[in-house]
């Protein structure tokens, strides 16, 4: 019995990472109604930037958050202004194709620069330290921290969207672009802000992912699939739904692994497909778009 409880607990902690990873994807979809296919690659790119910083400047990878997060936000802002805004003019398919192209570009550039070897960000004892609950259940300290940050980040984003003026304008733009523009909302700035926030959050997810496990230039595609599944399970454009989706996916994978160690990922995909078939709008239907 304790084995199953442990699988669920570990799944919830893993789900926190998926939620962290997915909330930016959910936000971008909520505001702009397109899926950023380079989302996973931006996470991996952030991990490589941190890797290079630590290689050259030394110290623990934790300090790189202070550089990678604002840099990612800036990249997101500029990316939206210079590329995605132009793509959006061409209809719904154009940004998909553009982000797909970006994904290929980032993967190939990383492969050119770093080769195909596995890398990881080592955070000392934090990588393996854990709290013992009982003889069967141990909670990894890093995993618990990641889970806590995921909940904190999503709650902060939720607060930003519901209480702040820019957040309200973002929800208004997601709801009705024409009316937002006619109300004096600068739609371009809203979109750029949303992408900046999305890339900042994906950087957080990417760095923690790199601390928990290894990464390669092409692991962004896999990460995108998990992020996408978490978003779909929870309900597109719904941040709390994304957290729930991440938790369900994480638990499905760890319980699946408990049944058969080779089938964890498969179990996650099967749960995703089952939810897609029976509740395509997600578990929490997007009654409150973006928020």
């Amino acid at each position: 019995m304790m084995v199953w409880i442990n699988a669920i607990v570990q799944g919830l902690l893993l789900g926190g990472l998926y939620a962290l990873f997915s909330c930016g994807l959910s936000l971008m979809f909520g505001v702009m109604r397109f899926v950023n296919l380079a989302h996973g690659d931006f996470a991996v790119l952030s991990a490589y930037v941190a890797y290079v910083l630590v290689e050259h400047l030394g110290g623990t990878p934790l300090w790189t958050f202070a550089i990678v997060i604002p840099a990612s936000a800036l990249v997101g802002f500029m990316l939206q202004r210079l590329l995605l805004d132009r793509a959006l003019i061409g209809g719904e398919l154009s940004p998909l194709l553009v982000t797909f192209g970006l994904s290929i570009l980032i993967e190939n550039l990383l492969q050119q620069g770093f080769g195909a070897n596995n890398e990881s960000l080592f955070v000392g004892s934090l990588s393996y330290d854990s709290w013992k609950i009982n003889n069967s259940i141990y909670l990894g300290r890093l995993q618990v921290i990641v889970f806590g940050i995921a909940v904190l980040l999503i709650a902060s984003l939720q607060l930003f969207l519901s209480r702040s003026r820019p957040g309200r304008n973002m929800r208004a733009t997601a709801d009705n672009r024409r009316a937002a523009s006619l109300s004096g909302v600068n739609e371009r700035r809203v979109r750029a802000t949303a992408t900046a926030i999305a890339l900042a959050t994906v950087a957080v997810g990417g760095l923690f992912l790199a601390m928990r496990t290894s990464f390669t230039p092409t692991s962004g595609s896999n990460d995108l699939i998990f992020a996408f599944e978490a978003v779909i399970i929870g309900g597109l454009g719904n941040l709390w739904g994304t957290l729930l989706g991440g938790l369900i996916l994480g638990v499905a994978q760890t319980v699946g692994s408990q049944i058969n160690p080779a089938d964890g990922i498969l179990a996650g995909h099967l749960v995703f497909l089952a939810i897609l078939a029976y509740r395509p709008q997600g578990i929490i239907a997007s009654r409150y778009a973006v928020s």
């Binding site: 309200r168 929800r171 937002a180 006619l182 109300s183 004096g184 909302v185």
Partner: protein, 243 residues
């Protein structure tokens, strides 16, 4: 003083010409009602002024400043607010949130959330209700209130009476009179001729993108208006300018 001026403005939707070298000027504090049959170019005129549509020819001026190429959200900063046909509320936001988004431009003036609730007290009770759950009349009041929150110098109204019961329309026009008494200039497109003629200081009747009739409601008789409206022996325009 002239607030809005259109100079020989022509507008197209693809190959279809919606306005043909239309000129008009509108003084501060005036209320101009634009009437005409479907397809006459009334809503196109509002789209040109709000910035949603660029003219293929001609210029648009606000306070003598050329705003022809200014984007819609910047025009709100300059003092132009549109209440679009069909309300276009933010359906997932509450009434109060809808109104607060209307203040995005941060223009200063007499309108704030309390002033809007004073004019439309019935929406105050529904302040925490999502806009999608409101009645048609309540939605229209929120749409007008949201536009007022930007403290416009020029308020554009597109078919505010559309789909509403006569008693609701009457109440809305009572509220709009309070708005005009505060000095706000109104440019309204309306199918309800009675209400339009009652509130307007000037009337402009469009027919196939051109001015078919123009003047003050007191100077125009009903037959002239009806004839111009339906294009039957349209009287020649007295002037191209309503002011």
């Amino acid at each position: 003083m002239t607030l809005l001026r259109l100079e020989r403005v022509t507008a197209h939707y693809g190959h279809l010409q919606a306005l043909d070298e239309l000129s008009l000027s509108l003084d501060e504090g005036a209320t101009l009602a634009v009437i005409g049959a479907n397809g006459a170019g009334k809503s196109t005129l509002l789209s040109l002024v709000s910035g949603e549509l660029r003219p293929s020819q001609g210029r648009v001026y606000l306070n003598d400043e050329d705003i022809t190429k200014v984007e819609p959200y910047r025009r709100v900063n300059l003092g132009i607010a549109l209440v679009p046909e069909g309300r276009h509320l933010f359906s997932t936001l509450t009434v109060e949130e809808n109104l607060l988004v209307g203040a995005a431009s941060r223009r200063q003036g007499r309108w704030n959330i309390d002033a809007v609730y004073d004019v439309f007290p019935f929406i105050k009770q529904r302040r925490n209700v999502r806009a999608a759950l409101l009645s048609g009349g309540e939605q229209q009041a929120v749409a007008i209130g949201r536009a007022l929150m930007s403290n416009p110098a020029l308020l554009l109204l597109d078919e505010v009476s559309l789909g509403l019961a006569p008693v609701i329309v009457r109440d809305l026009y009572v509220a709009l009179r309070q708005v005009t008494e505060g000095g706000t200039t109104l440019l309204l497109v309306e199918q309800d001729l009675t209400e339009a003629l009652n509130i307007a200081s000037h009337v402009l009747c469009l027919l196939e993108g051109r001015v078919a009739l123009s003047g003050s409601p007191q100077d125009l008789d009903q037959t002239q208006v009806v004839n111009a409206y339906f294009g039957r022996h349209a009287a020649p325009p007295e002037a191209n300018s309503p002011s």
